[in-house]
Structure formats: structure tokens, C-alpha cells
């Protein structure tokens, strides 16, 4: 149908009304949405699976494992509480970011108390860290210096203190924290740990294979740590394993980070070197032939020695050693191990 001159034709009218209708709907949506304004929603949303599971009353395997068991003489004194990335801070406050940066998915907690003594209780913290590396990072970085191996399996991945047990199992990091120092209480904690290992199947190994790359001689047992970000205060140095070594009367920290390729390793090493120099450190001469062959950078870090080298995809070195000679020996050992891993030496 042809429109009169100066008047819109039918198609134009339909499009116009359509656009007006769309604008009206957008306005209506904004009007409705603003009643639900919540600052906490910025950057945080309830995972869909969480909402869906809650609506359907689905119980996860972690909840089931915590609900199905209480150690002998103990009873549950709380329900299973579940925390997601959105509300983890409600449970652990200022420590939440550390977990979130390490891949945290969910936390399940439950308290158990002695049937005859209210003062004897412990709480299970079952962190799903999505990967064994995430679990190992939070486990190892928080490892208490006074910790002792629990005398059970896998001392690298389990330790105890006077009142608590800490361990990992696949992608789970588990804390069992007692209210007081008490051996009967600790017995219940161990029983719970064993039960969790049995009743909470994991589809991921606990072992972190990279730890074998650290040379065994003079290694401080179970001193491994995995830092996922901002290592030694340098933002670009990530995914870095460290281990401590006894050298005469000093403890020296060795480190390495496996990068995607050799070029990336060289870039990171160079950037870390520049970062140290910008921070007031200075280059240092070395007569050590092995270090020269490695093209290692030896740096004076306010009286301590920092050594950085690259082998294949590895950026590695020694961090803030007081004894340069001992640090150089450690670098030689570490380099040998990494050269083999990089396929550059048999």
C-alpha cells in the first residue's frame, strides 16, 4: 500500500511501533530491575548449579561424606555448611582471596563434639580447590613451620600440629581443627580423616610430580611450597615451586617455574632480573664456571645473593641466600636435575 506524500508507509509505521515497543520493554525491565539493586552483586553471582542443586535438594558427595560419619564417641554438633566463591569470606574472612586466587570452588564444613565433653570438639574444613595444584598451593603455603609429619602416609601431603591435622586428597585440601590440644580428640580427627579418604573418592592424584625435580641432597624434608602468583613480590613470576636446603648453618630457598616454552622462560627470567635491579639490587660477578655456562644472573640483593637461570622451559634459581658459595652449589645441583627434565642432559 502506497503512502500519501509526507506520511510514513505501513512498513515504516510497523518498524516504528516495534522500536517504541522495544524501548518500552527495556524501560520496564530497568524499572523492575532497579528494585533489586544490590552492590554485592557486582562481580559476584550465585553459581547456577548451586541454585539448581539447592532447589532440587541434591546432596553432593562431599556433603554425603560428611553426613555419613561421626568418629567413635563423637556426634555432629552442626549441619554441613557449604560456601561458594561468593560467600567464602563469611567463613574465613581475610583469607578468602588467597583461596579464590588458588582456584577455590567450594568449602564444606561440619563440627563434631565429644558426647561427654562439650569442650572437646573439632571442625572439618573440606576445600574443593578444583585441581591438585590448587590444593597443594594452599596446603603448602600455609604449612606450619613447627608442623610434624603425622606419622601416616604421604608426609609431603599431610602434617599435624598440637591441635589439628592438615592434608590434601586429590583436589581437596582438608583441615581438621581441634578446639584444644588433646590426644583423644586427635584420635577422632585421624579417624575422620581416614573416613574421608575412604568415602570421598577423587578422580585426581594427590601427588605433585614436579616436586621430584628438586635435588634430594640437603633438602629440608617436606619444605616444598607452590606459589601461584606474585612470587617474591614479582607479579609476572607465577606457578613457582620452592624448596628449602640446609647449607652449613644457613637455610637456602631454591625455586623453579615451568613456563609454556623456553622463550617465555627467558622473558620471565629477564623481567625478574630487571625487577630486582629496579628494586635497588645490583649485578654481581661470579667466577663459577657452571654458572657461566648456564648464563646465570648473580645479583646482590641488599647483601643476600639471588641467582636466576633458564633451562629449557624452566626459570629457576636461588632466593636471597646469605652464603653465595653454597647458593652456587645448590644452583648447580638444581640445574642438573632440570636439564634432565628438560631433555637437555641424560
Amino acid at each position: 500500500m502506497r503512502a500519501k506524500p509526507g506520511q510514513p508507509n505501513q512498513r515504516e509505521s510497523v518498524i516504528s511501533f516495534g522500536l517504541l515497543g522495544l524501548l518500552f520493554l527495556i524501560g520496564l525491565w530497568i524499572f523492575t530491575a532497579q528494585f533489586n539493586f544490590d552492590m554485592g552483586r557486582f562481580g559476584m553471582s550465585v553459581p547456577v548449579d548451586e541454585v539448581s542443586a539447592a532447589k532440587q535438594g541434591i546432596t553432593g558427595k562431599e556433603t554425603a561424606a560428611l553426613e555419613s560419619f561421626a568418629p567413635a564417641g563423637f556426634e555432629a554438633s552442626s549441619g554441613v555448611e557449604t560456601y561458594t566463591a561468593e560467600n567464602l569470606y563469611e567463613k574465613i574472612d581475610g583469607k578468602a582471596d588467597f583461596y579464590l586466587d588458588s582456584g577455590f570452588r567450594k568449602l564444606f564444613t561440619r563440627r563434631f563434639k565429644d558426647r561427654n565433653d562439650d569442650a572437646l570438639w573439632f571442625e572439618v574444613y573440606l576445600y574443593d580447590m578444583a585441581s591438585n595444584r590448587g590444593a597443594f598451593s594452599v596446603f603448602s603455603v600455609q604449612r606450619r613451620p613447627e608442623a610434624v609429619a603425622s606419622g601416616v602416609l604421604e608426609p609431603i601431603y599431610t602434617y599435624r600440629t598440637a591441635n589439628a591435622l592438615y592434608c590434601m586428597n586429590g583436589h581437596y585440601y582438608i583441615e581438621l581443627v581441634g578446639s584444644v590440644e588433646s590426644e583423644p580428640l586427635f584420635g577422632a580427627i585421624m579417624e575422620t580423616r581416614d573416613n574421608l579418604r575412604k568415602n570421598l573418592p577423587v578422580d585426581m592424584v594427590t601427588e605433585i610430580t614436579e616436586l621430584k625435580l628438586f635435588p634430594a641432597a640437603s633438602l629440608v624434608p617436606e619444605s616444598f611450597k607452590l606459589y601461584l602468583s606474585d612470587v617474591f613480590g614479582f607479579e609476572k613470576l607465577t606457578n613457582t615451586f620452592t624448596a628449602r636446603y640446609k647449607a652449613d648453618d644457613e637455610i637456602i630457598t631454591a625455586f623453579f617455574s615451568r613456563r609454556p616454552d623456553a622463550q617465555d622462560a627467558r622473558n620471565i627470567a629477564q623481567a625478574y632480573h630487571s625487577f630486582l635491579l629496579e628494586s635497588g639490587c645490583t649485578d654481581k660477578a661470579t667466577t663459577n664456571e657452571a654458572l657461566k655456562n648456564l648464563k646465570a644472573s648473580v645479583i646482590d640483593s641488599y647483601g643476600a645473593t639471588e641467582i636466576i637461570f633458564v633451562t629449557g622451559p624452566f626459570v629457576a634459581g636461588v632466593h636471597e641466600a646469605q652464603n653465595q658459595s653454597a647458593a652456587q652449589k645448590l644452583v648447580e645441583m638444581l640445574a642438573d636435575s632440570l636439564l634432565v627434565a628438560a631433555g637437555q642432559k641424560k
Binding site: M39, G94, Q142
Partner: protein, 331 residues
């Protein structure tokens, strides 16, 4: 468009439409100009529903602003620390209501040092009643279940034992506040009920390592008064702690360094996270208390940027020695 009549009609119509469009733009512009309010919304506009926390501080007494007492028993060291400042009677008058704000952030046992020690809370309550207080209220707003936090930390039992009232937070106890000159505390919920009822305010906090802030002591303790999704403030932790020092003007703060959480704070979890420092600090200056307290963690005041911000805001002095703190040891 070759017809001259049609061409003339088209030109007329174009001019008419342009004029209408121009009028419409002018009308919208004029309306905007008339409705434009150059002043951004200020707290005064919300004065009807915004509250301001009272100033609970007491008049300064020369050389009696801060005391540091060393000793292993909290009840004795806190008694002495308050005595050195002029005694509890300087701070609490007969018939007054005292609000005590401990750190009860977690459902954690006293042995782990993540919360204020219950014996210490009990002793301060006892002192307040001894000075003639009509009522002592103990209040905190843990994000997690408050009843569990008070029960498992032992603070609830200490309150019952000494006759204090524990005020568990409910929605109606919160009011909105805006801190004058504040960047973050603007139109934000605060646990206000204890302040309505109190004449005096005493903060009691343990010295703790804190993953994000560096340390959690007397000023950070006020974080527990904030409501809502307060974790968003963790992104600017130094500013929020400095603002808390501006928002809360306490009568007295007590910083417990008897056992210090040196690692894995603020929750800890192992007794091995604690180190015995056997130190109790009482202070009318919360910045000075924290400046000294951080040394128990092996830190310098310059390691905690919020202290400089708080000092700059006029909340207190980092140079605690300038206050000539009273020092003594209890064997």
C-alpha cells in the same frame, strides 16, 4: 520530484520538520537545564535516616594515654594497664552503660586466638561493674552465625558469668551511616543498636596477622560493626580501616598481645600459629595502640599503610612514644 509543486511542498515540509525537531531539542535542553541540580547528593539529604556514631572518647590526661604491661596472665595485665591510665573510674562513671566490642568474628575456640579471649572480656566487664556501670553490653556482628561465634569463642559464657548482656545482631539493629569525608563508608549499614544504648565504648582485640591487611588489631576490630556485603571493602582494605578509625571514637581500646597470631591470620587454626608475647596494651589512642601492637608481629608501623592514613585523618598518633606510655611488668 520533478513537479515544481511537489518540490515546493517537500521543501516546506523539510523546513517544518526541522523546526519541530529544533523545538523538541530546545525543549529537552531547557527542561534539563531547569531540572539540573549542580550539587551531588549529600548525607544531609538523607539526614532523616542516616545516623552518626557518638564520640565516646574521654578528656585527655597528660601522660596517661597509653600503657603497656608485660605478663602472662591477662586478667592481671589488663587490670594493671587500666590502672596505669588512671583506673577504670576515669573511663566509666556510676550509672553508665558500657558497650564492649570484642573480636568474635569466627566460631573458633579460645585456644586458637582468632577471637578476643573470654577471660579478658570477663575481666573488663567486672571492672566496669566495679566502677558502678549500670549495664554492660557485649556486641559484635560476625558474618557467620553470630550465636555460634559467641558460644564457641567462650565470650557468651564469659558474659553470662559476669552479668553482661550479649547483643546478637538482627536486621532491625542496623542503621545507615555516612562518614563525613569518607570514601567508602557512605550510606552503609552499621550495627548501631549498641551505640544507642551506650554511654561508653571499649574495644578489645587480639593481635593477629591478617592476610590482606597485614595485621588485625584494635582499628580493624571495628570492621565487625559494618553490615551488608562488607567484604567488598577488602579491595581497599587500608582505606576502610582508616575510615573505621574516623568513624569510631572509643573511650578506650585494649589490645591483647598475650598470645599473638603470627601466621595464617586472621583465622589461624593451629595453636602453632600463635606466639607468646605476654603483652597487654591499653590506650585512648587506637592508632598508637596498633602502631605498638604491630611490632609484636615483627612489623613496623610503615608496613601497615592504614596507620598512616588513620593518622592523617586525625585518628591518633603512630609515634606512640610521644604519648609517653606507662610501662610495667608483672611477674
Amino acid at each position: 520530484m520533478n513537479n515544481p509543486e511537489q518540490r515546493q511542498s517537500g521543501r516546506r515540509e523539510f523546513l517544518a520538520r526541522t523546526a519541530k525537531a529544533g523545538l523538541a531539542v530546545a525543549a529537552v535542553g531547557a527542561a534539563s537545564y531547569l531540572l539540573y541540580d549542580p550539587a551531588v547528593p549529600t548525607p544531609a539529604e538523607d539526614a532523616g535516616r542516616l545516623v552518626t556514631l557518638p564520640d565516646f572518647s574521654v578528656p585527655a590526661v597528660p601522660a596517661k594515654a597509653m600503657s603497656i604491661v608485660t605478663g602472662a596472665e591477662r586478667t592481671r595485665t589488663v587490670d594493671k594497664a587500666i590502672e596505669l591510665l588512671g583506673g577504670i573510674e576515669r573511663f566509666v562513671k556510676p550509672g553508665e552503660t558500657v558497650a564492649i566490642k570484642p573480636n568474635v568474628a569466627f566460631a573458633s575456640p579460645p585456644a586458637l586466638g582468632a577471637t578476643t579471649n573470654p577471660d579478658l572480656v570477663g575481666e573488663v566487664v567486672r571492672l566496669c561493674y566495679k566502677a558502678g556501670a549500670r549495664k554492660v553490653i557485649i556486641a559484635d556482628n560476625p558474618i557467620n552465625d553470630a550465636a555460634s561465634c559467641f558460644a564457641l569463642s567462650g565470650v557468651d559464657a564469659a558474659a553470662r558469668r559476669t552479668g553482661a548482656q550479649v547483643l546478637l545482631p538482627t536486621d532491625s539493629m542496623f542503621k545507615y551511616t555516612t562518614l563525613e569525608g569518607g570514601k567508602l563508608i557512605r550510606n552503609w549499614q552499621v550495627f548501631f543498636e549498641p551505640f544507642i544504648k551506650a554511654d561508653k565504648l571499649i574495644g578489645i582485640a587480639p593481635v593477629k596477622d591478617h592476610q590482606r591487611a597485614g595485621a588485625s588489631m584494635t582499628i580493624k576490630n571495628w570492621y565487625g560493626l559494618l553490615g551488608g556485603r562488607r567484604n567488598i571493602f577488602h579491595q581497599d582494605i587500608n582505606t576502610i580501616i582508616a575510615e573505621l578509625s574516623m568513624m569510631v571514637r572509643p573511650t578506650l581500646v585494649i589490645l591483647d598481645g598475650t598470645e599473638v597470631m603470627v601466621t595464617n591470620g586472621p583465622t589461624g587454626g593451629s595453636v602453632s600459629d600463635l606466639k607468646r608475647a605476654n603483652t597487654m596494651i591499653a590506650s585512648c589512642d587506637q592508632v598508637a595502640a596498633d602502631a605498638y601492637g604491630c611490632t609484636l608481629l615483627g612489623l613496623k608501623p610503615s608496613d601497615l599503610p592504614y596507620l598512616a592514613k588513620a593518622q592523617q585523618a586525625g585518628s591518633g598518633k603512630i609515634d606512640y612514644e610521644s604519648l609517653k606510655p606507662k610501662l610495667t611488668a608483672i611477674s
